[in-house]
């Protein structure tokens, strides 16, 4: 290891007054071969370097601030005997491991890494294989979870745990993780002021990302693919959802994005592609939904009549089977300046805004709401004719639900 003058100077400055330098303890298959023993021997702020090899340990308890680093991707295998690493101290860093085979229990939430009531920890660059729960944070604040790969083996909701599970946390950063095959990829319950960026959450049994009672959080630039439902935001306020991709969430009760009792958030710059339902909104208020792309979904949006004062503006609706569906003739949301590829109006003054309003709810989508089996008549001429008749004189579909200023051209970023 080489140091620059500046680094040495800074180190000396910080360590002034310390009795001992932080030491480095090495764990390897040939020498000291127990991670737990190394932890017990270490002083606070020491570094433990674990060399390549498979370590069959579980319930590793860390009760002092340590930097534990795997070199050459050492494997910690619990052999399904229980939880693996329990962090019981502030300022612990864990990186470079493959942690695998967490035990399964119906009564205990066993996790690959558990941080219980501690702060300022970093979990970076680990691979978690077949973890019941992956990374589990309880009442912990200022934690960074970055660059981890989680591969669960969840088959159904009952016998599986969440990838990254947070409960009563504040100021957490979850960045660049790849989560696959858990119940919920990322789970937030009572989590505040936290950020989720550039993660990929795919093939999870239930939700790619799940918010419960969590306020003031952001998720930006993530990809949610092929989950039961991409993201579920429930009973939460002030959630910002920017530039995410919601792709291939197919199935009977599957949505790209599910809103349930949420308010005052922002949803912008997202892509919804190939979902059965792009956005399902129930009890959603004062959301700003703008600049999103809805492409090739079965239903781009399903907005229940208990949603109020949402603003749906500057979105592109392209090649969806249905753009919008609602369950009542009343509605309380504002749709304007969207591009609807099913719009058939004209623009005589050439200002890029159609001169006649667009009614995105078709009679047929209303019929499907009543009698789901009637989807078999999709694209039939008879349906086209009654749709057209309804469009001219709305009887069953909400008459006031329309985009008064539909755009003539697809909205591009520039």
């Amino acid at each position: 290891m080489t140091f620059t003058i500046k680094q040495i100077f800074l180190s000396l400055l910080f360590l002034y007054g310390y009795q001992a330098y932080p030491a480095t303890i090495e764990v390897s298959k040939s020498g000291q071969n127990s991670i737990q023993k190394a932890i017990d021997q270490a002083n606070p702020h020491d570094t433990i370097v674990v060399l390549a090899g498979t370590y069959r340990e579980h319930d590793i308890l860390i009760e002092k601030p340590l930097n534990i680093r795997g070199v050459g991707r050492p494997v910690i295998d619990a052999g399904h005997a229980g939880q693996i690493i329990v962090v019981g101290s502030d300022s612990v860093a864990i990186s470079g491991f493959q942690i695998q085979n967490v035990g399964f229990s119906f009564t205990k939430d066993w996790a690959a890494i558990l941080i219980d009531n501690k702060n300022y920890c970093r979990i970076e660059d680990n691979i978690l294989v077949d973890a019941y729960y992956g990374i589990y944070l309880k009442k912990s604040n200022h934690i960074v979870i970055r660059g981890n790969r989680l591969e669960g083996k969840a088959e159904n909701e009952i016998n599986s745990g969440n990838g990254i599970h947070l409960w009563y946390c504040d100021s957490i950063l979850i960045e660049n993780n790849h989560i696959k095959g858990h119940r919920d990829g990322i789970y937030f319950e009572f989590v505040e002021n936290s950020t989720i960026v550039r993660n990929t959450s795919e093939a999870n049994v239930r939700y790619g990302l799940h918010f419960m009672f969590s306020n003031n959080d952001d998720y930006i630039g993530n990809t949610f693919k092929n989950n039961g439902t991409g993201v579920a935001v429930m009973f939460s306020e002030h959630i910002n959802m920017i530039n995410n991709h919601f792709i291939d969430n197919w199935g009977t009760t599957n949505y790209g994005l599910l809103f349930k009792e949420i308010s005052d958030g922002e949803l912008s710059g997202n892509l919804f592609k190939n979902n059965t339902v792009g956005i399902f909104a129930d009890g959603t208020n004062r959301m700003k939904i703008s600049k999103n792309e809805f492409v090739e979904n079965g239903w781009a949006m399903n907005v229940f009549s208990n949603c109020m004062n949402n603003e749906i503006v500057d979105n592109n609706f392209i090649s969806n089977t249905f753009d919008l569906i609602t369950n009542s003739a009343k509605h309380h949301n504002h749709y304007h300046h969207n591009y609807w590829d099913q719009y058939s109006g004209y623009d005589l003054d050439k200002d890029g805004i159609g001169d006649v309003p667009h009614r995105p709810v078709k009679l047929f989508s209303y019929l499907i709401g009543k009698v789901p089996e009637s989807i078999i008549l999709l694209r039939s001429f008879f349906i086209d004719i009654i749709n057209m008749a309804e469009k001219v004189a709305p009887v069953l579909t909400p008459e006031s639900l329309m985009d008064e200023q539909p755009r003539m051209k697809i909205i591009t970023d520039d």
Partner: protein, 260 residues
């Protein structure tokens, strides 16, 4: 039979109407492709045209051709040729010439546009196949109607009625039935009813390729499971084949007994 087929086929293919029919598909295909710049969108629009026009043209051509070639038929009947061959030859002649116009008119614009390698080739193939099926089915039906009715006006009217019924009225009744029986599990009824109308059946086969996302939702998944897997596909093709064969069988039966 082959000789009669050849006469009938070449007679029709040289006629103005075949060329117009071909040109219609060709031009609308071209226009749709270059206006929308999107292959799957063009296929959707073309599907709407095809499922209305193919049965209609098949119907009109079948009736018209039969009544117009009455003298030719009577001449042939005087010769030592089995009746089966005469009528089968004529029927196949119309069907093939119409199918050829349809196939070329629809496929060529996509070939020029560059369909090969695009994912929409499956949808186009389905559309072509169902279009050809519909041509044969409706030619057969109208041919039979013309054979039964000596009165041209009556025959023509009946053929158009059948087309109208299968194109529009059937779907209306279908929807009405679904609405009336909505309290009951009606998925299987819906599948059954769609098998009973060749136009609905063709539409569903295309829909399975274009609207998969929607079909995966709610009850749609049931239909997707039925029509989307191998067995369902086979059953649909079988139903279309039955729809093709039954009118032909009726034609043959009727032509044996009919007094000319």
């Amino acid at each position: 039979m082959l000789k009669i087929l050849k006469y009938s086929f070449f007679d029709l293919i040289r006629s103005r109407w075949s060329i117009i029919y071909f040109l219609f598909y060709f031009v609308s295909g071209m226009v749709l492709l270059y206006l929308s710049n999107d292959v799957s969108k063009a296929i959707v629009s073309l599907m709407n045209i095809t499922f209305i026009l193919t049965p209609l043209i098949g119907t009109i051509f079948g009736v018209m051709n039969f009544y117009n070639s009455r003298e030719f038929v009577e001449l042939l009947l005087a010769q030592p040729i089995p009746r089966k061959r005469i009528f089968l030859g004529m029927y196949l002649g119309i069907g093939l010439s119409l199918s050829l116009s349809l196939f070329l008119g629809m496929a060529l614009p996509f070939v020029f546009y560059g369909i090969f390698g695009s994912s929409a080739i499956g949808s186009l193939a389905t559309l072509l196949l169902t279009g050809i099926f519909l041509t044969f089915i409706f030619t057969g039906i109208s041919f039979y109607i013309a054979l039964v009715n000596e009165n041209r006006l009556k025959g023509f009217g009946m053929a158009i009625l059948v087309w109208l019924f299968l194109s529009f009225v059937y779907d209306g009744l279908f929807l009405l039935l679904l609405l009336l029986l909505q309290e009951y599990p009606i998925e299987n009824l819906a599948i059954g009813m769609s098998l009973l109308n060749p136009i609905d059946l063709s539409r569903i086969l295309i829909m399975l390729r274009l609207d998969v996302s929607a079909l995966m939702g709610y009850t749609g998944a049931v239909f997707h499971r039925f029509f989307g897997n191998g067995t369902g596909m086979l059953i649909s093709l079988l139903a279309l084949s039955v729809w093709t064969i039954v009118p032909v069988w009726f034609i043959l039966k009727k032509s044996h007994k009919k007094d000319f």
